[in-house]
């Protein structure tokens, strides 16, 4: 059985920055998402049909979830971040199941690299801090590190860590599992695990985006005034 390689293969360098096969796969995922967006918005119809209908349905679904968690105005504000996270992670996970993806020179599932998941988690983290400062003012933001919960900084720091490792662990372990199963029993059984990975792909995308939404909502909630969570 081949050796398990956690670090991704470096393809070439752009100046000082290495470009790995996972980054290239992330670019391919982005190209797919941008391509679908362009194809859908080229001739927008007021009453949508076909692909535009499907994409509008997905966006409305995500908007509904954002608004039910964060309220009407904040829901719309958070929608781009949460929907992008969900769609990118979902597309990257499912594309990683296409034959040809694996620890191959050019293609490896984008989220099976800790750098990719950590990057997304850090973006969510800094967005939460930035929006918290904006809604509560710098003094209110700093007060939170003391008043109700002195260990607030610990819980704030643990969130991006857990987000990054949860997604990385699930997708990387799934990749190893598929490779191991295919090497051990090449007939029929790997199909079961592909089904499992499809399920895990969408569940992890949902979990990452839902948790990001919840963290952003908590960060921008004025503490002291009891805001009801519907």
């Amino acid at each position: 059985m081949e050796h398990i390689e956690i670090g991704a293969t470096v393809l070439f360098r752009l100046g000082p920055l290495p470009v790995t096969n996972t980054i290239f796969s992330a670019w391919v995922t982005m190209a797919v998402l941008v391509g679908v967006s362009i194809a859908v918005t080229r001739r927008l119809k007021v009453v949508p049909t076909g692909l535009q209908n499907l994409v509008e349905y997905i966006v409305e679904l995500l908007l509904g979830v954002c608004e039910s968690t964060a309220g009407r105005s904040r829901g719309r504000q958070f929608l781009p971040v949460v929907a992008t996270a969900f769609l990118f992670i979902l597309t990257a996970n499912w594309m990683g199941l296409i034959p040809g993806y694996g620890d191959t020179p050019w293609l490896r599932s984008a989220n099976s690299d800790l750098n990719v998941t950590a990057a997304m988690a850090l973006i969510i983290f800094f967005l939460a801090q930035g929006w918290a400062i904006k809604t509560q003012g710098p003094l209110g933001y700093l007060k939170e590190f003391i008043v109700p919960n002195p260990l607030h900084i610990l819980s704030e720091l643990s969130r991006p860590v857990s987000l990054a490792f949860r997604l990385f662990g699930n997708i990387f372990a799934g990749e190893v599992l598929l490779a191991t199963m295919a090497a051990m029993i090449p007939v029929a059984i790997p199909a079961v695990f592909f089904g499992l990975e499809v399920f895990v792909g969408i569940v992890q995308a949902l979990i990452f985006s839902m948790l990001s939404l919840v963290f952003l909502t908590i960060a921008t909630t004025h503490h002291g005034s009891e805001e009801a969570h519907p």
């Binding site: 956690i6 670090g7 857990s162 490792f165 949860r166 662990g169 372990a173 569940v203 992890q204 979990i207």
Partner: protein
């Protein structure tokens, strides 16, 4: 060095690390089944929060698995 113990360490890491999440996931799913049994109409509403809760519990097992991979891959 004591590199002979690495496979044992990796096995223990994931083996012991999966006990807690296994119990937690079983308990959580069981509670969801109970809630559906009491009120079958909202089984759709229960599904998504249940999946999110199970995902959070499973993440702890994944942390243990990552440590096992790090040990086997001799990264740390």
């Amino acid at each position: 060095m004591e590199t002979q113990f690495i496979p044992l360490a990796a096995g223990l890491a994931i083996g012991l690390g999966a006990i807690g999440p296994g119990i937690g996931i079983g308990y959580g799913a069981g509670k969801a089944m109970e809630a559906i049994g009491r009120n079958p109409e909202i089984s759709g509403t229960i599904l998504v929060p249940m999946l999110i809760g199970l995902g959070m519990a499973e993440a702890v097992a994944i942390y243990a698995l990552v440590i096992a991979f790090l040990l086997v891959g001799k990264v740390v």
